[in-house]
Symmetry: C2
Subunit: 337 residues, 2 copies
């Protein structure tokens, strides 16, 4: 585990998202998002020798935190922009979120999804009203297809993480969590979140820096997709090896975001990576002990804590369970002993 101390924002550091943007996002979306529960479990505390609070974003509308960012972004579209529709790309959860938010606001949405995305995510996006177009991750570039659709239709591109409004929306997870911890009289020493493009991590670290500056924020990636960890080490945006595979369908990007990485580089306390076996173990524990359905990518922080990759012992820590959209056959395989 990286040992960086909590970094404070210096006066001359300019980031694309500030605490006030997260606070404004929270206000903007508050009537429409689920205030997800912060769940404690005595047996989990014993297993980890820690006081653990789980932020169950699995219970968010559309089954993941992505609804927050999507809603915050869409609510800022102008009437003219809304007429042109939305085009978005996503491994799944951003697709579900954009589809649902667009439908609720009477906006057309075209969603690019990899053809190997979980069925529940593809079918869910369609059920919520999105027009799904599948692409081949090996041979097609989703950004290029998205740009072509936007040019042809006048649609607004809403990317999954490299967007200040998306980042601010995702940051409301940590802002809400910090408030819930305060209501319980709990002082959080650590927060860990899943990391792919880095939007959740960036939003949350900005939120925590303002709301609970002594809380060190870590991000957790899948083995083989530890681009943020390596980028934090090298100081520049590193790429993952082509052909890498992971059970965590939601956490597979090529490289950290252009906008998210500077935030994460400035403020994150560290990054760790978890294997598929560690992810399966955490999903099984979430099933057995917590009675929660958590998807592979959503359980990564819990997996890291269970694997001893986060130094939680003796601490009060919050772990975000960021999503629960997983095909039933995959889930059944993961929880089988």
């Amino acid at each position: 585990m990286s040992g960086r101390s909590q970094v404070k924002i210096s006066e001359d550091l300019r980031l694309c998202v500030e605490f006030r943007d997260v606070a404004a996002a929270a206000l903007r979306i508050s009537d429409h998002v689920v205030k997800t529960p912060l769940i404690a479990n005595d047996e989990l505390d014993r297993i980890l020798s820690a006081k653990v609070l789980l932020k169950a974003e699995t219970l968010q509308t559309t089954g993941s935190f992505k609804f927050r960012g999507a809603l915050n972004r869409v609510l800022r579209m102008t009437p003219a922009e809304r007429k042109g529709g939305i085009v978005a790309w996503s491994s799944g959860n951003h697709a579900l979120a954009i589809s649902a938010v667009a439908a609720r606001n009477g906006i057309k949405a075209t969603i690019l999804m990899p053809s190997d995305a979980p069925r529940t995510k593809i079918e869910g996006a369609e059920r919520f009203g999105g027009t799904v177009r599948l692409y081949d991750r090996a041979t097609e570039v989703r950004e290029t297809i998205g740009a072509e659709i936007a040019a042809a239709t006048g649609a607004v591109i809403i990317p999954p993480y490299d967007d200040p409004d998306i980042m601010a929306g995702q940051g409301t997870v940590a802002l809400e969590l910090a408030e819930q911890a305060r209501e319980r009289g709990v002082s959080l020493e650590m927060l860990a979140v899943s990391c792919s493009g880095g939007g959740l991590a960036a939003g949350c670290v900005i939120a925590m820096n303002g709301a609970s500056p002594d809380t060190r924020v870590f991000c957790v990636e899948p083995a083989g997709f530890d681009d943020t960890a390596r980028s934090l080490a090298s100081g520049r945006r590193e790429s993952n090896a082509p052909g890498a595979r992971s059970l965590c369908d939601a956490l597979q990007v090529a490289t950290p975001g252009e906008l998210t990485f500077p935030v994460n580089q400035a403020l994150l306390a560290g990054a760790v990576a978890v294997t598929d076996d560690e992810v399966r173990r955490a999903m099984r524990l979430a099933y057995d002990l917590l009675k929660l359905v958590v998807e592979p990518g959503g359980v990564a922080p819990l997996a890291a804590a269970l694997a001893g990759k986060l130094d939680v012992a003796g601490k009060t820590v919050a772990l975000v369970l960021s999503g629960g959209n997983v095909d039933h056959d995959t889930f059944a395989r993961c929880i089988a002993v």
Copy 2:
């Protein structure tokens, strides 16, 4: 669905549990139980054309509401009684609860469980520290074995439902729920809970009668084990046919409780029964939409609402998801489409 109006407690009706007992139980156990979240889901509301609030007792310590009653009862044991230990019988969730509560209070517990109980419940009771003795439901009478153990060891018998302290403890589910609804400014028209021996139903209807008297309380049983429904109709405690089978392992008693039935008879608005297919459908929906693991017996109220057996349309209703202890292979079969 039975159409009885909410019944008020008349001045001359004496029940073995009163509202003040539930309120006292809530105070007694408050430092040790999870205040379980009241979960809303927009898509579920659309499916049921209702405003639905789910009380997720699946997230309670030991994975079911039974922890509340067990704790309330054990905390009232005298020091002398504690030395003699506890003997209890249970299809599973009461076993888990008594084992955990006893261990936390340094009390020995012997638990009688049917040999066909789910593995997760048997192993869980042992893991929590209980001494499990299996019996054959077809040939042995658990009350007799329990009485023999109590006579031989001086242990206190803590039955799963026919005990005023157990009933009062289970009633804290509804008391807490009524408070959470009030905090949200919501007026509950209906509450539905699972029913086996009737302890949860009796405790909850007492609690609601005091805390939210306009809320009509229904209980839901499995088809083949609808003894409470038939007893409410006939006015006396009816038995189920021997050899009945149900997916709901937690809801299989022979007849309503001696203490619980007079309460339920006086106050319940009605009782309905659900089939195994309806239970499976509800478990699948809880998985797909709510990301919650709910056991067959725990999902019965949601199953009844989805099957149109509770008249929820247009109403604000609360459904208790009472437990989440289910073997992974059973769960995988139930959520498969």
